[in-house]
Structure formats: structure tokens, C-alpha cells
Symmetry: C2
Subunit: 222 residues, 2 copies
Amino acid sequence: MEEVRIIEVKQSVFADNNADAERLRRQLKEERTFLLNLMSSPGAGKTTLLRRLADELRGRLRFAVMEADIDSDLDARAMREIGVDAIQIHTGGMCHLDADMTRQGLSELSSARYDLVILENVGNLVCPAEFDTGAVKNMTILSVPEGDDKPLKYPLMYETCQLLVINKMDVLEHFDFDLARVTEAARRRNPAIEILPISARTGEGVAAVAEWILRGVAEWNG
Amino acid sequence: MEEVRIIEVKQSVFADNNADAERLRRQLKEERTFLLNLMSSPGAGKTTLLRRLADELRGRLRFAVMEADIDSDLDARAMREIGVDAIQIHTGGMCHLDADMTRQGLSELSSARYDLVILENVGNLVCPAEFDTGAVKNMTILSVPEGDDKPLKYPLMYETCQLLVINKMDVLEHFDFDLARVTEAARRRNPAIEILPISARTGEGVAAVAEWILRGVAEWNG
């Protein structure tokens, strides 16, 4: 198999990340590329969901994935295995991506060729929520085994995202997890957040996530 | 119920956190207090394990818990409910604790009164591993639903810890999780790391974690 391309990104030289993120969004608007920033705890199922989404999105638009990790190229390889264009971004120990690090990845990917680029951010509920990557939309995954108190403990993540995917619904019966409690806590922080329960393992609910993305892409280009 | 004490800690004024952590360890040695730093992803089961450990440790030594969180006092309240001395540390958005933030918490707790203080660090596999808190030992929890690839993706966490607890073993059959694979990956990063599989929910294996802690406390005072 072709080697996975690994990009070692450097921390931003820009003092004002928010302004830089706005510049990046304007550039993406001109290129008609929709950048989606996917965040979660480690092990919530980001890569498994992306593999499922690839099946739903294939043939409907041109898309690629940027996998950000402290180390390893496991995730980019997992995407390449199923024929998805993917690069691995190494953050050099950094716990998040900022807009300039994201730009370095997009540049290596030649992002203007794609309608949709999904950035799989570093697995972390804290720092990635604090840095605007320049993405058009943000989504987060909360998996059932993590517990239903996460919106109370990591509020900024839920304020920053337009979509909350609840993953691993197939094991719901084995955990004390109250979907109504999560919904209430997340909406208290962010009344507009959409919530979609899924199982990335079984595929249940993934089509609704794909439709949410496709609507976002259509609006961005409209 | 008595109010939970919430400490808003400030970022360190010390440029050299490692030197400051050594100072804190010397102070703890003089006070005969063993500080254990507990780290994991959000939702791996830190607080549930601490509640179980309280049952094992009660009457065997004087101990207290410092709960660090971005927001909320859920964890300190959960400990106080079962009669454990606990304070809540708010990090003001910070994704980790450094030695001076830890010192501020210990000071509020009057830590010299205790043989053992357990610091429940912010739920995060990245940043807490980069900052020496001044703890005598570090432990991390990996829960079965997070997946067996975590030591490959977050290597510094496993290099930093003396004990790896594998939690949620009671749901092993519902997940693709290979204990041998985790063991091999963690030991490649850290050949000396001890690994204890448990279920904090059922209590299985928790006694072995308590014994590991009691041995550490005895050595520290020996």
C-alpha cells in the first residue's frame, strides 16, 4: 500500500488565532470547500464514524480526511484502507490544532480539490474546543460508556459545536446513561445544538449524520 | 450537606515546573504525605474507582481527594457523599494541573494531615502527562470501550505512569478490546508499568489497586 503522508505541523506564528481562523474560512468559501471539525474524547469513535460516513458520502461529493494525532498514523491508514483520501497531521505533542496548523494540513492536501474536508482533531474534550480551526462547522461525539455528565464537565465543547453525535447506542443497556439527561444538559449550554444518536459499529443512525453534513455543504455553496 | 469547597487555582508563576515539582515532592516527603496523580480520558471511571477505593482504604490510613475540573463540583460532591474528605479544584479553563496549582490545592486541604492524597486530574490523555504535578506516583485508567490502541496514540501518558488500570472489564465481551495488545503496546513504551484489570462498577480487582497504593505509601514513609 502507498505510504500515508505525515505532516509535522508547527505552532502558529499568529497572535490572533480567531482572526486567522476567519481568514481561513474566507479562503475556504472562495474554494467552495466545506471544512468540518470533528472532536471528542479519545476512543469515542471518531475514526469508526468516519469510515461509516465514507460509505454514505461516496459518489455524492468529493471529500478527504485530515487525521490529527500526537503520534502514530493509525487513523490515516484506516481511512486509506477503504479508499478515502487522507493525510496524517502530527501536532508535535500539541493537544489541539489552531487555524494555521489546519491551514498547513489543507495546503498539503490541496483542499480546493474537495467539496468536503473532515478534520479529525486530537482526542481531547478540553483544548480543541478553545481554538477555532477555521472550520465551517464543529461536531462532537459523546459515546455512551463515557457517561451522561460530560456536558456539565466540559461545557465549552458543547457550546462550540453545532452537532452532538451520541455514539455506541448499541451498548446502551450495559451502561447507566440517560439520553434525556445529556440532551437537557447540552441544550442548557447550547439551545441550538442538534443531537443525533447513532451506533458507528452497527451503522444505525449514520445516514442522518451524512444528511446533516450534506445540508451544511449545500448551504456553504448556496 | 456541607458545601463543597471549590478552589480557583491560578497558573504557575514558576518558569521551571519540573524544579517546582521536585520542591513539592520534598515538602510532601517531610510531611509524610503520599500524593498520587490519577489521569485518564473523560469518562474512563476515575471517580467511580475512587469511590470504590475509599471502601478499601477506610480505616487503614488517613486520606483525602482533590478533584480537578474545568467546571462543576460533581466529583467532589460524589466523594463527600460517601464521607471522604474532598475539595474541588477549578482550573479556570486550563487542561491540566502543574505543580504550583497542585500546591495551592494541597495547601487548602492542609495535606500534612493525610497519609495519602489522590489528585483526580482533568480528564485528558494529552496535557496532564506533560506536566509534573509533584506527585510521588502517577496512574492512568484506560477503559475497555475506549479501545486497545490508546498506548500507540497517547504514548507519553503511558511513559509517565507507574500503574495502568484497565477499567470496565465487566463489559469486555461487548467490545473489540484485546488485553494482550494493550499490554504489549504499553510495555513497549514503558517496560516497568504495572497493569491491573478491574471493574470499578462491580468492584472486581479494586483490592489489588488498593494494595498497590498501600505499598507505595509504605515505601514513601520507609
